[in-house]
């Protein structure tokens, strides 16, 4: 359409690719920097933690490839080490990855209009994790609709493979590295997510993070097995109503 003016609006698809393979490589390039570093270091921390929790290498890598969400993986490793009941482990791990529901709910509409989006929707949501999601929610809307699926698959796949490599690396290195390095790698993981959650922009989510951070350790004293879902429901619901009662603009702070 030569009569259409060139759009400068970033919310309009301005980025295009030659073909699907080109878009796929574009996705890999977008993921190969900071997202890959974060996934590698984060999952190296998880590998070390899994080793520490008495899990095996195959189970640790399977957890990364199967769950692909560190809070759920950490919950599983930690509660398994505690000897918690199976139902409590599954519930806590599942609840710890509950964020994938809202993340998928806001990500899937970005693919709308792509012929493969419906067929591949379960693959797309399975490859989704914090890092590729953050990049895709920023860059996806700028890409022409037909190239969003291959771009996302390239982006998330490089992170996914990096996660598997990082997990194995952390697991293997955990036994050989000096104590100071191993313990720092274990520390890295929850610290990273604490900063990720602290960077949320919405007021109700900020309140939820603060209340959750206070309630989490307190509820652990009350009931270690169910403290995680309980913390979410109590602190999250309180934050939700607190934010509503505060009125004003609920968007960004």
């Amino acid at each position: 359409m030569s009569d259409r003016p060139i759009s400068t609006d970033v919310s309009r698809p301005g980025v295009t690719y030659k073909d699907h393979a080109h878009a796929f490589r574009g996705g890999i390039k977008a993921g190969a920097g900071m997202p890959l570093i974060m996934v590698l270091s984060g999952l190296t921390g998880f590998g070390a933690l899994a080793h520490d929790s008495g899990l095996s290498l195959d189970i640790s890598v399977a957890l990364t490839l199967g769950l692909w969400g560190m809070p759920g993986q950490v919950a599983m490793a930690e509660l398994h080490a505690l000897g918690a009941p199976v139902l409590a482990i599954v519930a806590a791990s599942s609840m710890a990855n509950l964020r994938f529901l809202p993340m998928a709910l806001v990500m899937m509409p970005v693919f709308r209009g792509h012929p493969l989006a419906r067929t591949w929707r379960f693959l797309l949501t399975h490859l989704m994790a914090i890092n590729p999601w953050t990049v895709f929610m920023r860059r996806g809307p700028q890409i022409a609709v037909e190239f969003r699926v291959p771009f996302f698959i390239g982006l998330s796949l490089i992170c996914y493979l990096g996660g598997a490599v990082g997990t194995a690396m952390g697991f293997i290195l955990a036994g050989t590295l000096p104590f100071a390095v191993t313990v720092s790698l274990i520390f890295l993981n929850p610290a990273y997510f604490l900063f990720v959650f602290s960077s949320v922009r919405q007021r109700n989510c900020i309140i939820a993070v603060v209340l959750g951070a206070i309630a989490g350790p307190l509820l652990h004293h009350v009931d270690p097995d169910w403290s995680v879902p309980l913390c979410g429901l109590l602190a999250g619901t309180t934050a939700f109503f607190l934010d509503r009662s505060m009125g004003g603009k609920r968007g960004s702070v």
């Binding site: 933690l49 399977a62 769950l67 809070p71 930690e78 998928a104 709910l105 899937m108 603060v210 999250g236």
Partner: protein, 115 residues
């Protein structure tokens, strides 16, 4: 290293389903939930509170190797990370790396018997 027991593989399969259910639900419901609606907002609040609570518990009341470090070191490192996090306008990488660096430095100093 490759000795996951059948029980552990079963547990792994169950936690896989426990996570996949959210992804599948998100994929199926797609855009039917209004991202500005109350239900969506409540779900976000619950998930953020849950994750922040879990991570805080892991850092303050750890189990295993992390429990062998003094709480003071973990809190100092997190505080240092938060300062740089805020200085760099809520920059996740700046906060994470500085917290990690301070924690590593403290752990090395302790292992050397300096502190």
């Amino acid at each position: 290293m490759f000795d996951g027991s059948p029980d552990l593989w079963m547990l792994t399969a169950l936690v896989f389903l426990g996570t996949f259910v959210w992804r599948a639900l998100g994929a199926v419901i797609g855009s039917r939930i209004d991202p500005d609606g109350a239900l969506f907002q409540w779900i976000s609040c619950v998930s953020y509170a849950m994750l922040a609570g879990l991570m805080c518990r892991v850092l303050l009341l750890p189990i295993g190797t992390l429990a062998e470090t003094p709480a003071m070191d973990r809190i100092t490192a997190l505080a240092a990370g938060f300062v740089l996090f805020m200085v760099f306008r809520r920059h996740v990488f700046a906060g994470t790396i500085s917290a990690f660096a301070v924690f590593l430095a403290l752990a090395v100093l302790r292992s050397q018997g300096v502190i």
